[in-house]
């Protein structure tokens, strides 16, 4: 067999090891990985706890948004009802859509990832446990504050896609829209933190021997999901930032009278918004693809095709955003291109559906609750997919646009593609973390109520739409034949509600969280999450030889529990996991992991505070929160990246691995690269905005700032990149003075500051202001993005100096310095491109 890293695969034959393990190893693992008790549980970072809190919170938002939906349905049950006045109805549908999409669907999928992935990959935890904790708490506090706005009548009311000019200052003068922009913008940051964690987790912490072809299909789904978040979410982060800048400071990004354009928002929103639908669907499809083989008691038919379908979806779904804009008067050919892509994207979804159907057909399914939910989801999703192909036909869409047909379509896709699979997954995996499984008998009731309720609620809406009932109306006149259909739909909604209520009762009766004493493998799954586990995950980390190791090696669970595989103990007395190579999962080094800490929690509270308090315009208080958040993050990072005294350790069977790794194969480097991809995508979308506004309103364009200033700006950025790289180079040299790398890095950051400073100064001198025109707004927008990077680099300079002062920047290579250098070099490049683009476009 070939090797990827120089590791000899023949070493795997040493496992399972012979002989008894020494006494006390298991107790030590338990002590090291135990979670804090009582109130201190809030500082826990173990994925079992954080994952469970996360799933619970996402479910809470599902229920809350569901209650809003029920109230809306009561309002619409009969014509001219007076339960929700118009303004409140607007807030309700906006909050329902927003909460379902941003606070339920995406976070729920990330939450399940945090909970399930380490178990499936047999890692001790995800690679950045504190980051998961931060992402969760930020979402928890941010989400609750955001939701609370509805109780004060301050909830956003512009619909879940918040189109300007309706959401601009002229038509939405209150702070309602700001709640949406700051709240959602911020929650997206937490989603990105989760995505980084998932990408690095899937690629670098798989059990040894789990090559890409043996990776569980769910891990594939999560990998593509996280990659799509990294590419898609920056666009909405930028969009919310621009709209907020327009509202707060009158920078006219979306104002056509001053060279902006409302269509720019639609492009930015849907470049995120349509992939979002697949971002929600892919993980659910991953879950179904894991469950179906077990439920049908056979192997998954067409596993390779499904992997290919995931990858294809990841790409094609970024080519369909404009199909939400068919009615906006784009060029006919552009529309045709988007229409073709929209039809093409249904092919990968079809592949997945056919694969599940074949697996069920080949196997011998028992019709238990997860099977029912999986099948019910499949049927519902296919109906939604078919109406999707209908609205991908442009002439049909002109008719159906903004009518109840769309409401029906989107709920069929979302509920069939995500909610039903989610319930299947809850029934299927709850035995992994609860002392008791949920009740089969109640489960069937839950299913039938939800399934029948779903069809009764949403099927009639197709007809309502074709009969002309527009979406987002708070009431309607009698005598249009809409009354009975609406009434039936409301009855259906309450049937779904009853199903969900029964589920909650079932949870209350049977769900008892436990990290070790769980109900176990009720359905007989074959993947690693069904190995016996504690808070440390599995006792030892197995060598993986097939896709369903538990089916193929009946002794695996016993051997794993007796510690006959990798890492049967704690090699360093600290929390640790094995980092493996991305393709062949060969063990590379031992990662030392951080334990419980309150800093991520505090950092999250203050970050949420910063954004939410900014909405109510208490700026001083908000900035104080911002500073405290930064302090907490720095304090949390301070404990990380330390050497342990053993340079290499025995990870089982005499195999030795290093305890510290730097450079491109370290997990920190990977995470930074992913983060930089996010930053880069924000930048790409900002450049798109700049070019787009020129394209639609060239007459607002005036002369750019002095081109000669490039002669000062570019050398400054070049110096920044050069000095940063030099600091890394000097650290490796034996003869270098202790202070040299730190000082060089600080100088590099000074050069960055000089670069952005001159750039700003030269634009201000040119007389173009951000409020002048779309050009001014986008130029200063690009400069602001660069300033944020420079600000972070300044913080890094302080941090690196402090670490250097404490002799924590160790020779010959140090991760903290490496990653800050990487960031600085990127910031210099982005700065240089900004300076060139804004001055030379469109005169080249």
């Amino acid at each position: 067999m070939k090797s990827e890293t120089g590791f000899d695969p023949a070493l795997y034959d040493r496992f399972p090891t012979e002989g008894e393990r020494p006494e006390g190893e298991l107790e030590e693992l338990e002590r090291i990985w135990c979670a804090p008790k009582g109130w201190q549980l809030l500082a826990a970072v173990n994925n079992n706890y954080v994952g469970t809190f996360y799933v619970g919170t996402a479910f809470l938002f599902f229920v809350l948004a569901g209650i809003l939906a029920l109230v809306m349905r009561v309002q619409l049950a009969l014509p001219l009802q007076g339960i929700l006045p118009q303004e409140t109805y607007n807030q309700f549908f906006t909050m329902h859509g927003t909460v379902m999409m941003f606070l339920f669907a995406v976070p729920m999928m990330e939450a399940l990832g945090v909970l399930l992935l380490p178990q499936m990959l047999a890692a001790r935890d995800l690679p950045f446990p504190r980051l998961s904790a931060y992402a969760f708490w930020a979402y928890f506090f941010g989400g609750l504050c955001f939701f609370a706005s509805i109780f004060f009548g301050l909830a956003p009311n512009g619909g879940w896609f918040m189109y300007p000019p309706l959401t601009g200052m002229a038509y939405s003068p209150g702070i309602n829209a700001d709640f949406w922009l700051l709240g959602i913008g911020f929650i997206e940051i937490s989603a990105i933190a989760g995505a980084i964690e998932i990408i690095v987790g899937v690629l670098r912490t798989r059990a040894p021997g789990m090559t890409l072809d043996k990776m569980p299909i769910y891990a594939w789904a999560m990998l593509v999901f996280a990659a799509m978040i990294v590419v898609g979410f920056p666009s909405i982060i930028l969009g919310t930032l621009l709209l907020e800048l327009e509202r707060a400071f009158a920078w006219p990004f979306f104002d056509p009278t001053r060279g902006g354009d409302p269509m720019l928002w639609q492009h930015l929103f849907w470049f995120f918004g349509h992939p979002e639908v697949y971002i929600i669907f892919l993980p659910a499809s991953g879950l179904v693809s894991m469950m179906v083989p077990t439920l049908a008691r056979t192997k998954l038919v067409g596993q390779n095709l499904i992997v290919m379908a995931f990858l294809a979806t990841g790409f094609i779904s970024f080519g369909v955003w404009s199909h939400h804009m068919f009615t906006t008067g784009m060029p006919r050919l552009s529309i045709a291109f988007f229409s073709a892509a929209s039809m093409a994207v249904s092919v990968p979804a079809g592949i997945q559906v056919f694969s599940w159907i074949s697996t069920f057909a080949v196997g011998k399914p028992r019709f238990n609750t997860p099977t029912l939910f999986a099948l019910g989801g499949l049927i519902t999703f296919v109906i939604g997919g078919l109406t999707g192909v209908m609205v991908a036909m442009v002439p049909f869409d002109w008719q159906a646009h903004d009518s109840y047909f769309i409401v029906a379509h989107l709920h069929y896709v979302l509920i069939g593609g995500m909610v039903f699979p989610l319930f299947a997954a809850l029934y299927y995996w709850i035995p992994m973390m609860s002392q008791r499984a949920l009740s089969e008998r109640l489960g069937k009731w839950v299913f039938w109520l939800m399934f029948v309720g779903m069809q009764v609620t949403f099927w009639p809406m197709h007809i309502l739409g074709l009969m002309g009932m527009p979406r987002r109306v708070y009431t309607y006149l009698p005598g249009r034949d809409w009354d009975t259909i609406n009434f039936i739909s409301t009855l259906g909604a309450f049937t779904i509600g009853l199903g969900v209520l029964l589920f909650v009762i079932d949870l209350a009766r049977n769900f008892r969280f436990t990290p070790d004493n769980d109900a176990g493998n009720v359905y007989g799954g074959g993947t690693l999450e069904w190995l016996p586990t504690g808070l440390y995950s599995t006792r030892s980390i197995p060598v993986v030889k097939s896709r369903e190791p538990l089916w193929d090696d009946p002794d695996l669970a016993k051997n794993v529990e007796e510690g006959r595989y990798f890492l049967p103990n704690s090699a360093t007395g600290l929390r640790e996991t094995i980092v493996t190579s991305p393709l062949r999962a060969e063990p590379q080094y031992l990662q030392i992991m951080p334990g419980p800490s309150v800093w991520p929690l505090l950092a999250a509270i203050f970050t949420a505070g910063f954004f939410i308090i900014m909405t109510i315009q208490a700026y001083k208080f908000s900035f104080a929160c911002g500073i405290l958040a930064i302090v907490c993050v720095l304090r949390w990072l301070w404990d990380t990246d330390r050497l342990v005294k053993e340079e290499t350790v025995d990870v089982g069977a005499g195999i030795r691995l290093p305890t510290y790794c730097t450079g491109p194969s370290s997990h920190g480097w990977w995470a930074t690269m992913v983060l930089l991809t996010v930053v880069f995508m924000i930048f790409v979308m900002a450049m798109f905005s700049f070019v787009y506004l020129y394209g639609v309103h060239p007459r607002f364009w005036t002369a750019a700032a002095d081109k000669w200033s490039l002669l000062a700006i570019l050398p400054a950025y070049a110096a920044a990149a050069g000095l940063a790289l030099l600091s890394r180079h000097m650290l490796a040299r034996e003869k270098t003075e202790h202070w040299t790398p730190g000082v060089l890095f600080v100088l590099a950051v000074c050069a960055l500051v000089a670069g952005i400073g001159i750039d700003f100064w030269s634009w201000l001198r040119s007389g173009l202001l951000p409020t002048t025109s779309g050009q001014g707004a986008t130029v200063y927008g690009l400069l602001s993005l660069e300033s944020i990077l420079v600000f972070i680099a300044v913080l890094m300079a302080g941090y690196i100096s402090a670490r250097n002062g404490r002799a924590l920047i160790v020779r010959p290579r140090n991760n903290s310095l490496d990653l800050c250098v990487l960031f600085t070099v990127y910031a210099a490049l982005e700065g240089a491109v900004t300076a060139i683009l804004t001055r030379l476009f469109p005169w080249v």
Binding site: T211, D213, G319, R332, L333, G695
Partner: protein, 94 residues
């Protein structure tokens, strides 16, 4: 890295084609220029796919992650060939 490049090669060609068509149609609107340029881009992309197919077919990995990636890469290239062809149709008929 090489393995990943081929695994994603098919869809990447589709992406390049799609964004090129979007760019062309945004600049030249619904015109003959757009159709001609779109046709040329699509031909180039089909040629790229054909090259990829020949190149990937030629390597014959023996053991598993490589052999598996080889299979999935070929699948991706095959599906992308159809997708690229489909994506070019509007330029001809719309």
């Amino acid at each position: 890295m090489r393995g990943w490049t081929f695994l994603l090669a098919g869809p990447i060609v589709w992406t390049v084609q799609f964004f090129a068509l979007y760019g062309i149609a945004s600049i030249f609107l619904t015109s003959t220029t757009t159709r001609v340029l779109a046709g040329l881009v699509s031909l180039a992309c089909l040629a790229a796919i054909a090259w990829l197919f020949v190149h990937v077919r030629r390597s014959q990995p023996v053991d598993d992650p490589d052999a598996w990636m080889h299979r999935v890469s070929l699948l991706g290239i095959g599906v992308s060939a159809v997708a690229v062809f489909w994506q070019s149709l509007p330029a001809l008929i719309a």
